[in-house]
Symmetry: C2
Subunit: 291 residues, 2 copies
């Protein structure tokens, strides 16, 4: 059996299995202190021994350079208690199997590529819109890394303060995609949880507007074959048609022929694995690495 | 010998040779009608026969999908007379050697990777800032393509019309990087050629501002190891330190540790091949393909 860890800023979820039809998933483990959280993760895998390898998809930023002294660490996260935290090494020391480590969003992208909405694609983007905004994906069939890894949530957006005076939720930048469009930004702007705002609330056209600008920037940079959009905010299914229309209008005819068949319903889609993209992707990471 | 064509919207340059130290370069061929322009290109290669293969770096958008009926065409360019123009096939019919075809900017990136400022890098971006703005590069050692190819010039930028009331030069979008920061935009805004504006003219801080926003968006999307910035506008060498400072300030400490050694002088650089990146890259494309 293989193991997977989806390590989020709010909760960790662990699993053992080989894929969607053979999967034991842990109860959610609250992300408290690293020591407490890792202890529960390790207990779960010890209860399900033997395990051949573990894949981890972690919130970040994380260090993915194998030659770095802090390889496998969570690095400069603003999350209290988690800055510069050794992660992959702690799990390896305790469980003593090979550990494979990547970003939460790259791992979710891998899950969707293996079993979900991105099967057969070479270049695509996976986005999560929730307590933060993150993006990963593949370019030419390889997970996107670069020097470190993408931080798509920090794309700089145009804004009109007359239309939206909200100052933004990101501690690093004003006016970045995450700062303007993550779940907590919606909540702070409208003084209600996103899930409590009705589909015709102006919050949603504003949300679709910001997300669409981000998508168009990603189209012009990566030319993806598809966007898979997950995370808590995207549970509001009415956002999908709004985003599709907005992207279409915004590209204003430029290169529209390249969206296969002009079919935006298949170009911007929810994850087919629902909230399991991450934990299944973590299994796929362990499996791919052990091939 | 190998052949290369750098096909720009203003001029074409052809070359035969094997690299920077063994290179015969044609006189610039004005980009007039496709028939006239291609005739001069073909004459150059016939005069320098025999040639084993030709690499082409073309202005775009272009069709790079080998299974497409318009493979090797320039597609939806706004340039009069050049929309939906067969290109690679015309050259192949006349010269009868294998033809390799990619974007002008990917080909320039390849030239810099082979012989210039991007040697040894896996993930980097090449930008040209001239009559338009374009970008190419490599991700994980492969030229960036995706579904079609990047159109980095069309990144959507924030703007402050009180600071810069100029409406933009792009026929497709208001407020895109190319529309606000290409050479003709500088000229239209200040009523002088960019090359005639002194280094302390406010044009340059505005130009550095727009280019830096574009660079930061690319950092958050691709996490490149280096930016190579060429094209006519970047002949103004004083722009480089202004852009470096602006990018540094704009990232506001986020992930700064990942710019190797924090060394922005090596992170944002001019092409080492000067104005030869494109034509040498076209040779490299022919060479790589014929390996």
């Amino acid at each position: 059996m293989l193991g997977g860890i989806e390590a989020g800023g709010t909760k960790f979820v662990c699993a053992v299995g080989t894929g969607p039809h053979d999967l034991i998933v842990s109860a959610p483990i609250s992300t408290t202190t690293p020591a407490e959280t890792f202890a529960q993760v390790i207990t779960f895998f010890k209860e399900h021994a033997p395990i051949e390898a573990i894949g981890i998809g972690s919130f970040g930023p994380i260090d993915l350079r194998p030659d770095s002294p802090t390889f496998g660490y969570i690095t400069s996260t603003p999350k209290p208690g988690w800055g510069n935290t050794r992660f992959a090494g702690i799990i390896q020391d305790a469980v003593n199997v090979p550990i494979y480590f990547d970003t939460d969003v790259n791992v979710a992208a891998l899950g969707e590529h293996r079993w979900g909405a991105a099967q057969g694609l070479n270049t695509f983007v996976y986005l999560t819109i929730g307590t933060g905004i993150g993006g990963g994906g593949m370019v030419d069939s390889k997970l996107l890394h670069g020097l470190i890894h993408p931080e798509i949530g920090h794309l700089i957006l145009p804004r009109d303060k007359a239309m939206d005076p909200y100052e933004g939720h990101c501690p690093f930048h004003e006016d970045c995609l995450e700062g303007l469009a993550c779940g907590p930004a919606i909540e702070a702007r409208w003084h209600k949880k996103a899930s409590e705002l009705p589909p015709d609330h102006p919050a949603w056209s504003l949300e679709a507007h910001y997300l669409s600008v981000g998508l168009v920037d990603l189209i012009y940079t990566l030319s993806p074959e598809r966007f898979v959009m997950g995370g808590g905010v995207m549970h509001q299914a009415h956002l999908f048609p709004m985003i599709r229309e907005n992207v279409k209008r915004r590209m204003n005819g430029y290169q529209m022929a390249t969206i296969p068949g002009g079919d935006f319903d298949r170009y911007i889609v929810p994850p087919s694995l629902g909230d399991r993209s991450g934990v299944l992707g973590a299994l796929a990471l362990a499996q791919r690495a052990s091939d």
